[in-house]
């Protein structure tokens, strides 16, 4: 029985439970809603919940545990010789699973009957050919050992899924029954449903946190793997980035410093652009602009935030880069020869700065608006002009929030990828010239992992070390930003 059908059955049981529970509760009260402890919907919801939730939980656990159990049982059947020949147990097991799945598919497609599939003999029939006919390609002929294991695998999985269906449906029916019996007019269904809601909310919140943990863990494991292959001191203090993809290992220089320098340099240029423009825009919008202008201009400014960064990247590559070369390149308007190609720190930084303007302006605008009107009144009442009020009263009051906004923009800049991939070039370089091509941590993560990469080589694994370094930097910035905002926030009551 397929999982989808099983889920559907459980949901139908839940719906039935809703109707039954509601009805029974009403009956015990003689049809008078006032005699019930809770509204009828709560009895229905409680019954539905008890029918669905434990059954679904059971299904989830079963789905996780069954493959592990079957795998363990089957992998015991494979001899050491086979494992040695294939290279690793995992490879053999994946073959076994493919054969098993292929046979199931063949039966489902009608290429052979269930009995035929169970009694296949590798010496007489061409298992590989049969499976290829239903679209499952195998790397080699199927040995009898593999086939046996596959048959065992099929058998255990088949029994498992029958039991799974039985147990899940039984759990659902049992839940329905219990809740149905409980649905009495004095039963506090409302409180139970309330707890159900609480559990749902906690579940949603913990998913986000657990995902973060999962991301960190996956990064950490690969990073540890990387440092086993490549010295940590060379990674953190190496001044050259020169990965070789020719041979396996050796010859690569994987220093993070040139990449980090590029990242920080480009982010710095971006902030130089974004902070003044964004801040001034925010001040104009919140203090000077009329309501009508503000209601038009603010959404327009926020449209900038909705542009995909790849489009910004194209803008950098096709428009800003050539424009800068026309000015700063050889034979350009200024008659200097600072810029060799369109891709440069300046190109990426300028465009990234434009991307960050709505970030800074939107956050700052909210913060400036949160400064109480009484501050402004106090200042105007003393005969201050608007700009004096902004400079001496509003900005100091809003400063912690603005610093927070800038730090958030900075961590956004550091993590930005597409603009630098297209706008900054690919050369890892430690240079002060903002018109040189440089590259960033993110851009190099992309280039190390795209294409054919061998995930056991330091050249690919370095991406995870880069990723976690970046993660720590931006995490640190965010924490620092929150700390600043909390510590220096004025408490206006």
């Amino acid at each position: 029985m397929s999982n989808l059908l099983l889920i559907a059955i459980v949901i139908v049981l839940g719906a039935v439970g809703y109707v039954l529970g509601r009805k029974r509760a009403l009956n015990t009260a003689g049809g008078n809603i006032r005699d019930l402890h809770s509204l009828p919907v709560y009895y229905g919801a409680n019954t539905a919940m008890t029918a669905v939730v434990p059954a679904m939980g059971l299904l989830l656990v079963w789905l996780l545990v069954q493959p592990m159990v079957v795998n363990n049982a089957v992998s015991g059947m494979i001899s050491d010789a086979t494992i040695a020949e294939a290279g690793s147990r995992d490879l053999v097991m994946s073959d076994v699973r493919r054969v098993a799945d292929g046979l199931d598919l063949a039966v489902a497609n009608g290429a052979m009957s269930g009995a035929e599939a169970s009694n296949l003999d590798p010496s007489t029939s061409d298992v590989r050919g049969i499976l290829a006919a239903v679209g499952v390609a195998l790397g080699s002929d199927v040995s009898s050992e593999t086939l046996d294991a596959a048959q065992r695998y099929r058998g255990m999985s088949g029994t498992g899924s029958i039991w799974k269906a039985v147990v899940v449906i039984a759990a659902s029916v049992a839940g329905l029954g219990i809740a149905y019996m409980q649905s009495h007019k004095d039963f506090r269904a409302r409180n139970i449903v309330e707890r159900g809601v609480l559990a749902l909310l906690i579940f949603a919140a913990s998913i986000a946190i657990l995902t973060t943990l999962g991301i960190i863990l996956s990064l950490v494991f690969s990073t540890v793997e990387f440092f086993r292959l490549y010295a940590a001191s060379d990674f953190f203090f190496g001044l050259r980035w020169n990965p070789s993809f020719s041979g396996r290992g050796g010859g690569s220089e994987l220093g993070i410093l040139p990449l980090l320098w590029g990242t920080l340099y480009i982010s710095f240029v971006a902030l130089i652009v974004a902070v003044p423009l964004g801040l001034f825009a925010a001040i104009y919008l919140s203090e000077y602009a009329s309501n009508r202008f503000r209601s038009i201009a603010k959404p327009l400014l926020e449209v900038l935030a909705g542009i995909p960064t790849i489009v910004y990247g194209l803008f950098a590559l096709l428009t800003v880069g050539p424009l800068l070369v026309d000015v700063f390149g050889s034979g350009g308007l200024l008659g200097v020869d600072w810029m060799a190609g369109g891709t440069a720190v300046m190109t990426a930084g300028l465009v990234m700065g434009i991307m960050l303007i709505p970030f800074v302006s939107s956050l700052s605008d909210d913060i400036i608006n949160a400064v109480p009107q009484s501050m402004r009144d106090g200042s105007y009442g003393l005969g201050a002009t608007k700009s004096e009020t902004v400079r001496q009263v509003i900005l100091p009051a809003a400063l912690p929030g603005i610093v927070g906004a800038i730090l958030l923009a900075a961590s956004r800049a550091i993590g930005e990828t597409m603009i630098v991939v297209l706008g900054a070039g690919a050369a890892a370089r430690l240079s002060m010239n903002p018109f040189d091509a440089m590259t960033t941590v993110t851009a190099k993560i992309v280039s190390q992992l795209t294409g054919d990469s061998d995930f056991a080589s330091p050249e690919a694994l370095v991406a995870f070390a880069l990723g976690i370094s970046l993660f720590i930097i931006t995490l640190g910035l965010n924490v620092f930003a929150l700390y600043i905002v909390r510590k220096y926030r004025e408490q206006y009551d």
Partner: protein
């Protein structure tokens, strides 16, 4: 015209008129908030505006230093003269005007700066001090006038927001007098304060009368009776009655005034 106007109002005491308002109208969008108000406010006098909530007394107060200019939908009609000069004349700079007509607000609103910088804010903006020593003097004088000097002289560089409510309000008054205004407008200055702080501020208001024309909006009739020499009663945007405070509270001419002070409308 001027004489005729005075006679019309039948002022009971002869004082120098500091502010005179004639036929003042205020509209908030379609809402006619102040209807045809005429009033003469004397110099070196405390004038109280009383009336039920929403009667327009705060709105009228804010007309006197053009604070209503900062509200987009607000329109002010009629003439308001300070020392005979129309403050709504296009030649008048509202920013300069507000330096001359200081204001204290309902809720204490010290800036998020040190006590010293709070008081020095106005003098710095208007260039009243030539050097640091002079500024120090101005700050000290203002804080003394605000009757808060003794409490804060040892912590001038502590944040003004760290003071208690009553101290904050006296700091705001000191801040307002630091720019050497001629008129001091107070919009319910004691409504956020406890009785002790209120008493201190009231005492202060009485002292300020020696140097300034003080206009105070208040919800407390006892306060009006205690601190003011003249009282104006507003109701539904109209100035119902304006007279000596004693007169208003003991022998009101208008039945609405009588109803209000005896607690029947409000």
């Amino acid at each position: 015209m001027e004489d005729h106007y005075r006679m019309d109002r039948t002022m009971s005491t002869a004082q120098d008129t500091k502010i005179s308002a004639r036929n003042v109208q205020v509209h908030y969008a379609d809402n006619h908030a102040i209807k045809d108000v005429n009033v003469e406010i004397g110099d070196k006098t405390v004038t109280a505006f009383i009336g039920p909530s929403g009667c327009g007394k705060s709105t009228f107060l804010r007309c006197l230093n053009r604070m209503n200019d900062t509200i987009d939908i607000c329109r002010v009609g009629g003439d308001i003269l300070i020392d005979g000069e129309d403050i709504y004349d296009p030649k008048v700079d509202p920013v300069q005007l507000r330096a001359k007509v200081g204001m204290v607000f309902q809720k204490p609103n010290p800036f998020p700066k040190s006590i010293y910088d709070n008081v020095a804010y106005g003098p710095k903006i208007h260039g009243l001090a030539a050097n640091k020593a002079e500024l120090d003097q101005i700050v000290e004088r203002a804080l003394r006038r605000g009757a808060i000097w003794d409490e804060v002289k040892d912590r001038l560089h502590a944040p003004g927001t760290g003071l208690s409510g009553g101290q904050q309000q006296r700091l705001c008054i000191a801040r307002a007098v630091a720019t050497e205004p001629e008129v001091l407008l107070m919009d319910e200055p004691c409504s956020a304060l406890d009785p002790i702080a209120t008493a201190q501020v009231e005492e202060l208001i009485d002292e300020l009368r020696q140097n300034y024309a003080v206009v105070i909006v208040t919800h407390s009739m006892q306060q009006a009776a205690r601190v003011s020499q003249k009282t104006a009663f507003f109701h539904l945007g109209n100035l119902v009655e304006y007279d000596d405070t004693d007169q208003i509270f003991t022998n009101p001419k208008d039945p609405r005034t009588e109803s209000y002070i005896s607690g029947r409308i409000g």
